[in-house]
């Protein structure tokens, strides 16, 4: 029995990612998820004026900068007890939804489905259809996605000036109000995106598809019309399930969501926050004080156990050749390894179809990706409703100047659902400037390394136990890892010549 270690490199946004995988007789027996990039944002923030977070932190991520802007804004509002007006909250939600919709569509059809054009599937009966739809930069669905996502980001630009990297959310509101022109333009954009989604992605009416409430209903609906079978989603479902992606890549069952769309003048969110405990199958109230980060296997100055972000440190300490292997920390909820993202978001909100699929088949590669497209459908409807609400609140203020010269000392946090799941900013102000800024991204949760108790992170768990028949083309690992939405396409790459024997048993 031989054990070998192979390296797999993954492309990234939230940080470069590589996997080191130990194979024993062709089966993954251990996996180490390696964050290969350290950028030092948390150090850059120290000593700066608090509002600078609104300019600096969106630059953490080119795909979800709106989510960072929102989280930073909420943290600043919490520390100074600022309540933004309803109109501003609605516009913020609209913009974040547009960004998330963009990310879900690009992730699905620019980053995930290109793998279906892999040479190993050339003999599959669907191969020609898959290539026509999903070939990079050329496939019909890819072309439609490029256009739809380009267009939908126009909504963020109408209100915020540009996407990515703008700063239109401010403690106390937003930088400019909606007006009839912006609303009409947004409605026009959304209507076109919806028409494309119905025609090309689901092959049917959105309301009908969103009303499906069980696995049986979903597959019955899809099989009832040729257009639905041949749609992007129909192809995705038929092929994924034919090659068994619904039986592949189970990670942790614990789910975390910070809740979608803060509601005006209220603590509530349109989709609620919560923690789904897989042991009890119960949804528990979210308690941010349960969040803690470990660095036992990370290249940071060590401390015992986990620390809440307010107590956290980010002091790099590169130790090659040790049992530390990543620039990522290991966030945990209490002592639980969790996953976050659209599956968690929709399950915690009790969405019937996703809840049924999860109960029947458990967490898996197909379902994580399906949940992302399910959320895209939900977002299109929710954006329409939000635009109506914005129209109804146009006579209300969009910004109330908090009149702050010197920001109050204290601690606060801002939690939002970014495209990839729960995103948190934790802030401390001393003497009017930022004293500590800790950011826990969704990918930090999902791609976390082992913690101080040796527990693997979610992605690592989802790989362990996987048979890898052909290390030269480990396409299943690609499917699994990409279904976690690792920000960009990840290139699964086994080194041939440098493969080293880890140890022999």
């Amino acid at each position: 029995m031989s054990r070998i270690t192979v390296d797999i490199d993954l492309n990234r946004v939230e940080g470069d990612l590589e996997f080191q995988v130990d194979l024993e007789d062709g089966v993954v027996v251990d996996a180490r998820c390696v964050g290969t990039l350290y950028r030092g944002f948390e150090q850059i923030m120290i000593g700066r004026a608090p509002r600078d977070a609104l300019v600096i932190t969106p630059r953490v991520c080119g795909i979800c900068g709106t989510a960072h802007l929102y989280a930073a804004t909420l943290a600043l509002e919490q520390i100074a007890h600022i309540t933004p007006p309803a109109h501003a909250v609605q516009v913020r939600n609209l913009c974040l939804m547009a960004e998330t919709l963009q990310s879900d569509l690009r992730q699905s059809f620019l980053f995930f489905t290109p793998d279906f054009c892999n040479a190993i599937y050339a003999a599959h009966p669907l191969a020609a259809e898959l290539r026509d739809a999903f070939t990079p930069l050329k496939g019909s669905v890819v072309r439609g996605t490029l256009k739809a996502t380009r267009d939908v980001l126009g909504i963020v630009a109408l209100f915020g000036g540009q996407w990515p990297h703008s700063t239109y959310m401010l403690p106390g509101g937003i930088s400019q109000p909606a007006n009839s022109r912006r609303i009409l333009d947004s409605r026009g954009i959304l209507a076109a995106v919806r028409a494309w989604f119905e025609q090309s992605v689901i092959g049917g009416r959105l309301e009908e598809w969103m009303a499906l409430d069980s696995a049986d209903a979903l597959f019955r609906w899809q099989a009832a019309a040729g257009g639905r079978e041949r749609s992007a989603l129909g192809l995705f479902n038929r092929f994924s399930r034919d090659i068994g992606l619904h039986r592949l890549g189970r990670g942790t069952g614990h789910l975390l969501s910070y809740g979608v769309n803060p509601q005006p003048l209220s603590e509530a969110r349109e989709l609620p926050a919560g923690f789904f405990n897989a042991d009890t199958q119960q949804i528990e109230t979210l308690d941010q004080s349960q969040i803690n980060e470990h660095v036992r296997h990370s290249w940071f100055l060590d401390y015992p156990g986990g620390r809440h972000p307010w107590e956290g440190e980010t002091i790099p300490d590169h130790q090659p050749g040790s049992d530390r292997y990543t620039w990522a920390k290991a966030p945990r909820y209490g002592d639980k390894v969790v996953q976050t993202g659209p599956l968690a978001e929709l399950r915690i909100a009790g969405e019937p179809l996703i809840s049924d699929l999860l109960a029947r088949e458990g967490d898996n590669t197909w379902l994580r990706q399906f949940a992302r497209l399910r959320r895209a459908g939900w977002l299109i409807g929710a954006m329409s409703e939000t635009l109506q609400a914005i129209k109804a609140s146009m006579d209300q203020p969009h910004y109330i100047d908090p009149g702050i010269d010197i920001w109050p000392d204290g601690e606060s946090y801002g939690l939002v659902e970014a495209a990839r799941g729960g995103l948190g900013h934790w802030l401390r102000i001393r003497n009017g400037v930022i004293d500590k800024y800790q950011i826990v991204t969704p990918t930090a949760w999902n791609a976390s390394p082992r913690d101080s108790a040796g527990r693997h992170g979610h992605w690592e768990q989802s790989i362990v136990g996987l048979p890898v028949p052909d290390p030269a083309n480990p396409v299943d690992i690609g499917h699994i890892v990409r279904s976690h939405d690792p920000c960009l396409v990840c290139t699964v790459h086994f080194i041939g010549s440098q493969r080293k024997t880890h140890f022999n048993v």
Binding site: N11, V13, R51, P164, D401, V489
Partner: protein, 311 residues
């Protein structure tokens, strides 16, 4: 046919995401109508693996026409480059190997051009741009570095770089159009316009009607940190996402195409000498500017003073 290798170093991927937003030309059009092909892009290509691409380029089996670098070049800790690696190798070493092979080297975004947001104090990763660290020539490759055709790194500055600026620059390179560069090696075809030009708040600036708090309709230059009158970028002459710009939407220009972005001061406050901004519109003499502003304010029409005009 020209091929492109697009490599990300210390990046947020914002330039890649902006690239997908370009519409004139779009990325699809670049491939279809300008004969450009992506040998490697971290989010767009699926055919090749980075290691194979690297081998083909370094062995000379494949030529390299355009090398685009997105992201700061991390040299830390202690010069090792281990803050940003590919399979344990410092990315800066890979960039140093590839740059001499390319016909054109393009810094896509302010990070690769000047260091950018990651180089903000205290620059925890010891990062730099390809040929500059902020205003200082040098950077990773050195101030005197040139391609084999005698060209420096082309700096397509911006955080992110403007979508259509990126695709138009690539189209120009594909067509072998002559390329003039400014003193910071930014292509003058796109960097000869101030952000101020085309800002819909210009009338407020013209009459010195300046806002003191955010969220208003007036000009953001005097009090709220806006650097539009000093920043060379196409943001208001070529709108973002086909729709708008930050300053039109009431967001100060933070000068993201400039080598010192982000400035090491409160970004929402305009530094001043007396009541006048310390940094004036590009090239303006202080005494004359103050005289003009005093006259301008006196001439301001009621509709502007009352901020009746919507930007």
């Amino acid at each position: 046919m020209a091929n492109i290798v697009w490599m990300q170093t210390g990046a947020c991927s914002g330039d890649s995401m902006a690239l997908l937003c370009a519409d004139r030309p779009s990325i699809e059009n670049l491939v279809e109508h300008y004969g450009l092909s992506f040998l490697w892009h971290p989010s767009l290509t699926a055919e090749h693996r980075f290691g194979d691409v690297l081998d083909a380029l370094l062995s000379g089996r494949e030529k390299l026409d355009i090398l685009c670098i997105e992201g700061s070049l991390m040299t830390g800790p202690n010069g090792s480059g281990q803050y940003d690696t590919w399979k344990g190798r410092a990315k800066i070493d890979i960039v140093r190997q590839l740059a001499p092979l390319a016909t054109h080297v393009v810094a896509m975004g302010t990070c690769a051009a000047f260091g950018g947001v990651h180089a903000a104090g205290p620059n925890p990763t010891d990062c730099t741009g390809l040929q500059y660290l902020n205003n200082q020539p040098g950077g990773l490759l050195g101030a005197d570095w040139r391609t084999r055709h005698g060209q420096p790194v082309i700096n397509v500055a911006g955080c992110p770089a403007h979508p259509n600026t990126m695709t138009r620059l690539l189209a120009m390179l594909a067509e072998n159009e002559p390329l003039a560069l400014d003193t910071l090696n930014r292509p003058t075809a796109f960097f000869s316009t101030l952000v101020h030009q085309g800002c819909t708040r210009n009338e407020y600036h013209e009459y010195d009607i300046e806002d003191n708090v955010l969220g208003g309709r007036g000009c953001l230059f005097f009090n709220l940190g806006c650097r539009g009158p000093q920043t060379v970028a196409p943001c208001n002459s070529e709108l973002w996402n086909g729709q708008n710009s930050k300053t039109r939407a009431g967001v100060p220009c933070f000068g993201c195409t400039s080598p010192d972005f982000p400035a090491n001061r409160d970004l929402f406050v305009t530094p001043k000498i007396g009541v006048v901004p310390k940094f004036l519109p590009l090239g303006v003499a202080r005494a004359k500017y103050m005289a003009y502003k005093n006259l301008a304010r006196a001439a301001a029409p009621e509709r502007v003073v009352k901020r009746e005009m919507e930007p």
